[in-house]
């Protein structure tokens, strides 16, 4: 049964995913990879919400619903982001994040 796995284990996993996402965001040069890393962060949050809801407050479903919305918004975000990536690619023929440092200081 799922109750055999303590909440802390799940939270450890989610935290790990969160930091993997953060790490990916910081190291990936390709913007798509960065976007995926952000998705990882959001998924860590989703795991948190679902697990907490299930373990601690099973009588209300706020956490589950929140997760659904996060997934939805993440999709929208990705759509816009990729549109901009394409736009950028049209302009500079690259989506390497190190290339987009025209504006600085």
């Amino acid at each position: 049964m799922i109750e055999d796995i303590p909440l802390s284990h799940i939270l450890i996993v989610s935290t790990l995913i969160f930091f993997i996402g953060v790490y990916g965001f910081m190291t990936r040069k390709n913007m798509i990879s960065m976007l995926i890393s952000v998705e990882l962060v959001l998924n860590a949050v989703n795991i948190n919400f679902v697990a907490i809801n299930r373990y601690l407050y099973p009588e209300r479903l706020e956490g589950h619903f929140f997760t659904l919305f996060v997934i939805g918004i993440a999709a929208a975000e990705a759509a816009v982001a990729i549109a901009i990536f394409i736009n950028l690619y049209r302009n500079i023929r690259s989506i390497d994040v190190d290339e987009v440092t025209e504006m600085k200081y």
């Binding site: 965001f25 910081m26 190291t27 987009v100 440092t101 025209e102 504006m103 600085k104 200081y105």
Partner: protein, 637 residues
Amino acid sequence: MENYQYTIWILILPFAAFLFTGILSGKLKPSLTATISIGAIGIATALSYLAAIQYFFLNASESYTAVEAASFTWYRLSDTLVIDMGILIDPISVMMLVVISTVSFMVHIYSTGYMKGDDGYARYFTFLSLFSFAMLGLVLATNLIQIYVFWELVGLSSYLLIGHYYQKPSAVAAAKKAFIVTRFADLGFLIGILMLSYYTGTFSFSDITNPDGPLITQTIGGTFLGLSTLTWAMILVFMGGAGKSAMFPFHIWLPDAMEGPTPISALIHAATMVVAGVYLVARMFTVYSLAAPEALEVIAFIGAFTSLFAALIAITQTDIKKILAYSTISQIGYMMMALGVSGYSGEAGLGFTASMFHLFTHAFFKALLFLGAGSIIHAVHSNEMKDMGGLRKHLPATHITFLIATLAISGIPPFSGFFSKDEILAAAYASNKLYFAVEYLVAGLTAFYMFRLYFNVFWGKKRTYENIHESPASMTIPLWILAFGAAFAGFLPFSHLVTTDGIPFDTHFHLTIAIASVAIALTGIFIAAALYRKESTRSQKIAATLGVFYTVTKEKFYVDEIYLFITKKIIFNLISKSIAWFDRHIVDGFMNLTGNTTVAASFRIRKFQSGNIHQYALVFLTGVLIATLVYLYYYPK
């Protein structure tokens, strides 16, 4: 109580003349300006004599008491400390009134001839009125602040009149020097006033000099360097007097002040303003004598020293006005010394009386000497003795009057100087033999250098002059009038009029001292006659044998150079320049540095904004982590 209300016009008239001619300067004809000024001082002179007669001779009582003829509140510093402007009538102020108004009136008349055709004719008379007003106000002052106010005003008019020929660099420099040196001395005066007012809570002379008043009967303040606070205050007050009266070491401005027109030298720098310092000490004499005898010792010392010092310099000078200037310094030293050795009340106060007496007589003969010198200069257009000689034929009136004055200053009876000098010597003899010796020597020196001057100018080598003639009547008449004063002023019974406490006493004639002093004066005269009456090289030979000593005296003991060194090198270059540098580079530099650092910092940190998203996210995360860690550390629950 007599009514002296009218004395207020003595002040109002010259001031009105000054304002009127000053504001309308350029609009009035110069001669009209002169007429207005002369009219004003003429009436003031008449009123002064009226006051003198009323005070001294129509006075019923045995002693002379001070009368406040007028007074109004001018300024209120606090509920207790009030500054009045008023008129104080007492023996010395009335005596001064007579001196000032007479000399001033004479100089006014004289100037119409002397200054004729000058560009600044109108301006000259305007300032002359200002001076008369200020000087009369000074002697009539009822309190310390009033005297300080007029003190500064006479300084101003002296400045303006020395600088009359403002296109001449030396005159400008002399005017500036006179103002600044006296200003420096006045600093002491002002601090002295501050100290006195702090301890007494009043500025009024009648309170301060009251022999039974708190200032004199009680000890005030602590001591500093072994002298009481009051002594220090009185020494500081004397410092102001020393500045105005050109006492060593503040004497340096007076010889330079001779750059002014000669009538100005006669009026301001011989007869009236320069004796203001003596007057000031006399005004405060009760305090000096009864509560600050140490200060009086200082005065005596400075006076004696200055009289000798200046007499020595006078011997070697060649500019006739400079000789007279040093002579003035020397004679004022006499007066100061006399005050310094004087006691209080009765015959002990002989020095005081003698000093005032000498002030009185000196005013006449010294003014006369200067006006005579003016007449000479007017004729030969030079100040230097080498340009003169044998003038007695060409300038008969000037010659006679000048001789009278020279005899008077040399102390030859029956001329006025003899009487007053004799009293001073007697007073010195009674008090301090050393001072007597010094003054005795100075009497001889005086006779010597005055006759050196006299012989050099009127005798000596014959020369031919172009276009030389005696001065006009407007100049010679004042000479004669003053000569009358110089000749006969000595017969006034001064000890019956002016005494320390207002109670007359009888003076005794000191025969031995008189004979001795006449003897040394005659000695001086004979030496001078031997050296200078005929053209000869004897004097040069003597000068050569004296060597260094001669050079040092001729160079006025290098006092000017010392001053120049202190002001130019030390104060200007060392202190002032470095402060100006400090201000620009350190203080202001610090302000600029703050600004520059900010701007530099803004350039330094620009790498922070590298444009790279990775770095942005890293900074973001670092911020989050630091905040998290700090809060987890400080709020562990």
